[in-house]
Amino acid sequence: AQSVSQHNHHVILSEAASLELGCNYSYGGTVNLFWYVQYPGQHLQLLLKYFSGDPLVKGIKGFEAEFIKSKFSFNLRKPSVQWSDTAEYFCALKEIYNQGGKLIFGQGTELSVKP
């Protein structure tokens, strides 16, 4: 069965540090990949997505992610984090043949940024 694995459950960084959150998936077919973010007290929102084309995708607030098909990975990066990036981050995939929008999520990574 398909699955998504996020290796870091809780990451603590100081402001201006660089960020990389790992995401690996298990699925033999073609997928669409997503990162969602949930800021404290708010709803989940889309950070960025990969459908096809350039494997390096850019999202909102300076985030980017790189799809490496050979490694089944879609890691999230940001060169310099801010205190406002404190949130929980979720990696998710959708099987490409699934037209219905069903997402498979990872366990989430909680990011705490110290001012």
Binding site: F34, G41, H43, L44, L46, G100, Q107
Partner: protein, 115 residues
Amino acid sequence: EAGVTQFPSHSVIEKGQTVTLRCDPISGHDNLYWYRRVMGKEIKFLLHFVKESKQDESGMPNNRFLAERTGGTYSTLKVQPAELEDSGVYFCASSQDWINTGELFFGEGSRLTVL
């Protein structure tokens, strides 16, 4: 534009009782989804409505869960009778142009605590 709204934000009930969660999607969104996150684990898909029809209910845990979307507008998710393992956060999401945008719009979630 109003986002996806969920009610109640938090419900505490005893084992064996009934709880009904409500979701109001973004106006005009035909697709409505229910997801659940139990005890800090991954967010799991429960089911998908297209208008009033259940498109995919493969994630519903058992027959104690009943989802409805009469008239294709708001949706309810009833748990009857509730068990301890049903505790968690129930998320609702909606989308209209999923195929092209790949974006689900989530509500803030309804936290259910079963004692």
